[in-house]
Subunit: 203 residues, 3 copies
């Protein structure tokens, strides 16, 4: 088994936990109850991968094992038990960025494995990475991340497209994953560090 | 055939009607047209079970028979034809609570029948019971029920978890259904009667 | 192969482009970035058909070929490159009406082909035609089209129900499509031309 195949379940669980924490923190910011924390953690942590699996026709990944839900519920309890100020905003954005890049690569890779052609597969990377946050924002009733000019969906798209593109160029799978992840995280990191955004429509 | 299996289709239809009425009443409160009534009744009455079936990989329950949609459309017309004040708020909340408890137990039971393990199966109970109301609130643009401190999702979770837990302890299926239903309705009823809620996050 | 079967892929692509443009225009109205344009174009152009395919248990139509996503992305770029005033509001509404009628007929026809009975099949026509616009409005955070008194969902329902009904009466397939399309577009067009709407609930 190659290294990337061995690392993938761990990356997947790490990304799930990162997104679950970001969901629970949204509930904390709104001063909600523990049950709302759990709901937000589950929707944010599992939402993107769930939509991906439904779209590509795969069994939903958290239906036949209990670990992913358990990760989300534990994340909700951990956030609930801690004072809000221990979560530094900047650090959280970096963790979220790492989760975003990992999910983009992972989502595109899974779609390719299920025989989806390159363009829809890259789109599945974006769906996996971004839909959790979109569900969280919809439930919370705040303007969605896709509406902000900041590089976010763009970073996810860059990671997913690079992964699919590198594979098409014959690059070895593990290397294609690492490079695509680095591109996604680099772009998102640049956006966090220097408030990089795309130009808006002014015609 | 055991009694619970015979009662299940009837319970299911009763719960569908209750949720469909609650959807149509939301449209009535916003003074909308009959078509919006129908849309809300369908989304609220069928939404939760639809998401459950998609997630567990079962055929969507209202796709191969016409009764569930017909129940929702009739509910919309009935609500449309009646003056709003004949629907006592308190009574409606109790009906909704009964639907909530029934759907939680039913959703978890169906997931178990499809070979889903206990933790995701319990989650499917919550999804079945709560997502209809969430879709209704999203369409109406009002703050979702999952954001309120009131015991609602909690009551659904209690019913679903008790059903799954009692079965795991070897309790007979019909009994496990009745007890779990009673726990869910009891908890939700207590919340309605005494405005019981969960504590909010204040750290 | 009959004429309707030959025309269907073209009608489908035309309807996708029309809805994608309407999604991108929503992003233009909010002065968003090109990535948001693309996101709105994809969600609006593909959303309804995606939900239909998930519900009827068919493979999602844009998963195994790249054309539908490409149409949406190109639509987003085209709208982005053009000044907003070249899109006459009235003309856009007529294009949207044509897309609505085409998708209603097409969605109901596809459901029937997959063995769905008449009532749920007609509902699938409405879902195909209306959900793209609902997703667009949800993402944009504006009140959904289903909340407006204007004839919109009604026109979609009329087209879908006529198609299913005419087939049940033994009318030839191509004719049933053309007549149902004309009914849907006629109703929607009347609503656009004379601000036709349904009465609201006032009891």
């Amino acid at each position: 088994m190659e290294a990337s195949a061995m690392a993938m379940p761990w990356l997947d669980m790490a990304a799930t936990a990162l997104f679950a924490v970001s969901g629970a923190l949204a509930a904390a910011q709104m001063r909600k109850t523990l049950v709302t924390f759990a709901f937000f953690a589950v929707a944010t942590g599992l939402g993107g991968g769930t939509l991906r699996d439904l779209l590509i026709g795969a069994p939903v990944f958290w239906m036949h094992r209990s670990v992913p839900i358990a990760i989300c519920l534990v994340s909700a309890v951990v956030v609930w038990c801690m004072p809000r100020r221990i979560w530094p905003v900047q650090a959280m954005e970096w963790f979220d960025g790492a989760g975003l890049a990992a999910y983009s690569v992972f989502g595109a890779a899974k779609a390719l494995q299920w025989g989806i052609p390159p363009l829809p597969a890259a789109m599945m990377g974006v769906v996996t990475a971004c839909m959790g946050g979109i569900f969280r924002d919809m439930l919370a009733g705040v303007p969605s991340i896709v509406l902000r000019p900041e590089l976010y969906v763009t970073a996810a798209a860059a990671a997913a497209v690079s992964h699919v593109g590198l594979l098409a160029l014959g690059v070895e799978r593990s290397l294609a994953m690492v490079v695509a992840f680095a591109i996604g995280l680099g772009l998102r990191g640049a956006a966090i560090a220097w408030q990089l955004g795309l130009p808006a429509y002014r015609r």
